[in-house]
Amino acid sequence: MSTVPLDMMPGASPRRVVLTGMGVVSSIGIGVSEFAASLRAGRSGAGPISQFDTAGFAHANGCEVTGFEPERWVSHLDPEDLGRASQFSVAAARMAVADAGLTTRALAAERGLICIGTTDGESHDLDRLVEMELRDGPENMSATVAGRVSPIRLSTTIAQELGLTDVETSSIATACAAGNYAIGSGFDAVRSGEADFALCGGADAICRKTFTGFYRLGTIAPDVCRPFDKDRKGILTGEGAGVLVLEPLESALARGARIYAEVLGYGLNCDAYHQVAPHQESVTRCMELALKDAGVDPRDVDMISAHGTGTKANDVTETRAIRDLFGDNPPPTVSMKSMLGHTMGAASALAAIGCALALTHGFIPPTINHVTTDPECQIDCVPNEAVEAGLRIVQNNGMAFGGNNAVLILGAYEDEVNS
């Protein structure tokens, strides 16, 4: 890609950053084509949870990844040395690099950033350690499992699998907005010239700890996730990974890469208000910061991919925040979590990939399981069936515990002549 170390050149202008490759591990498809087809068809990833013992819970549906064979994607590392979330992130990164038409050899010649967002890291393995402790005593925990639990491994194992050494690897543990955080970091690094490419996104594996926590809060839906519906019952926990390849426009053009989207900007802020309850004014402010960063007028946004968890607290607050900024006729606002469940740190990364597919293929993914829109959620959530639509600019919302908000703006790539 680019060979000019832009960060060494004071006053150099920022580069345009484009998205040229995507890798997906999800409950509704592994690989970007299957994922795109599922989003368009409005498939549901919901089903009974099998990753941990759910005895004693009155209901335990989730959106699990099925048919995932790590050895198809992990060849240099032993899949046994990777936790489930790292297996997902490595697989998604491999797919993303191939999808971008890049070779690891080409990447190895550049300075890169690998940045993966996560809520739970390898909590699935922490759960297993607790199980071993209770069964056999703490002195008999598995060393292999203990060796996999550090969340930084979600990104370092990607570098090791791809054989990349001149890369910064970092895991952003900013809960359910972490995917957008990671994409934002990749965007800033490539835009400034600090990195020539970024592999960024998010990964999480279903775990007992998080399911139990949401269950106790009364926010796990018994069957399916129905965002913006007056009869919504809450979230379904999900899992998966989404990894995006970001590179400078210049290098994408030079190598004739397919450009899914241009990253126009993003915004970050913190409610500084409550550990779990979202804050309307602050969410509005974050969207405003993102649009300002992207140089986009709210009237030009064609679709919003909502955080849309399917809880009352989220859906009502988020809808109001959107209306505060976009007025009485906000753009179609959909929740991909209706299909994917809440994939935690992967959520905004998978949704960003969904947004890029929507731009590329000209459709708006639906909010499924929808019967009656909640009168407190006055938005068009594109119920149940995808609609064809030429989109230019889309917005992807992410909100997290701790009041950590991150909003990403993507645009269809338009060259200078057309724009």
């Binding site: 170390p5 960060d7 060796g147 970092s170």
Partner: protein, 376 residues
């Protein structure tokens, strides 16, 4: 390729810092501990900690409620208390210039290993032990999520700028610094409270025990939190320190990481260090201090070998934080920097300190810090 100014000609400076460490509460206790080289390892209370070790470097008599008061601390876990406490001390520091503004312009970037392994595993343990698996305490749930400490720092102190949690091992502090610099360089905050926190706990202790293959090793676990105020200005606006409202204590010249695999740490770290020296036109002779992570892991020798490769003739002072504070996990690199600032003096003004981290999970990192005249 040699340039004198990376990061688009911006000065990045540390203007304040605080620490809660096994030396005690606050910056002064830390400085005193470093300057006298006081060891902090103590026998731990077997009643309180069901850990495999008998010794650790603990923050003495640490109590979240005593430090922060009773309001809002009923369920607060140790790592959150350490981070919120260090942040409170940083913001309460009224020396050397005006107080630190909070609100939207102020972000917070916190390094961690995995939040609180104790809180996360404790949540699952309760679920597995109770007659009904959902009989867990809902108030504890936020503590079982890794960004809790950073979020609580923001809530307690009204920090509405970007709020991020960066996961790493000993490198977490430097990876968090990279991220904080990126936020400042991109104009996403006016100032960043940057630091790291790690707690001692039975859960962490058992994980470490098994990661080391269950063998007894020399090292002991430590804990604590360091917070720094990081500010940035364009070169053109920052030729003199007087352009900063608060007196710069050090310039962060650069920070950079790369990866290692299959144990090839020595080469990776040597490359990382020589890259930052070369990128910034820093000659090894300018270096007065070398502060390695110094973990007692299988990579300890490789770290010092790499640094001897890079500084073959240097008469620099080696600052070995681990010898005094133990393996402080994610807080390690920030303690190395705090130690460097504690030991700087008029004789080291304008000279460079090298901070390195080796993370067994696959990354190495290096930062160059140019210390100013004052030891603070």
């Amino acid at each position: 390729m040699t340039a004198t100014r990376p990061a688009n000609g911006r000065r990045l400076v540390i203007t304040r810092w605080s620490a809660i460490s096994p030396f005690g509460l606050g910056r002064k206790a830390f400085q005193e501990g470093m300057r006298t080289g006081r060891k902090t390892v103590t026998a731990i209370d077997g009643e309180q900690w069901s850990a495999p070790e008998r010794r650790a470097c603990l923050v003495p008599d640490f109590s979240v409620r005593e430090l922060l008061g009773k309001k809002g601390t009923r369920d607060m876990d140790r790592v959150t208390g350490l981070a919120v406490g260090a942040t409170a001390q940083l913001l309460g520091d009224d020396s050397g210039g005006p107080s630190i503004p909070t609100g939207e312009g102020t972000g917070l970037v916190l390094g961690t290993t995995t939040g609180s392994a104790e809180s996360m595993m404790g949540y699952t343990r309760t679920s597995m032990r109770k007659p009904k698996p959902y009989l867990v305490d809902p108030a504890l749930m936020p503590y079982a999520v890794m960004n809790c400490a950073a979020g609580q720092c923001a809530i307690w102190h009204g920090l509405k700028g970007p709020n991020a949690t960066i996961a790493g091992g000993p490198s977490a502090g430097l990876l968090a610094l990279v991220y904080a610099r990126r936020l400042l360089a991109s104009g996403r905050a006016e100032r960043i409270l940057w630091g790291a926190a790690e707690e001692f706990s039975a859960a962490r202790s058992w994980i470490e025990h098994h990661r080391r293959g269950g063998e007894a090793v020399d090292s002991v676990l430590g804990e604590g939190s360091t917070m720094f105020l990081l500010e940035s200005k364009n070169d053109a606006d920052a030729e003199s320190d007087y352009e900063f409202e608060r007196q710069p204590l050090a310039d962060v010249i650069d920070v950079r990481s790369r990866t290692h695999s299959r144990g090839a740490v020595r080469g990776a770290l040597a490359r990382c260090v020589s890259d930052v020296l070369e990128r910034n036109g820093v000659h090894p002779g300018e270096v007065w201090a070398i502060a390695p992570s110094g973990m007692q892991t299988q990579y300890a020798d490789q770290e010092s070998d790499a640094l001897h490769d890079c500084f073959p003739r240097a008469d620099a002072r080696w600052i070995q934080v681990t010898d005094l504070l133990g393996d402080t996990g994610a807080a390690g690199a920030t303690f190395q920097i705090a130690a460097t600032l504690s030991l700087a003096g008029p004789e080291t003004a304008g000279r460079v300190a090298v901070i390195t981290s080796v993370d067994r999970d696959g990354t190495v990192a290096c930062s160059l810090i140019r210390t100013r005249g004052e030891a603070r």
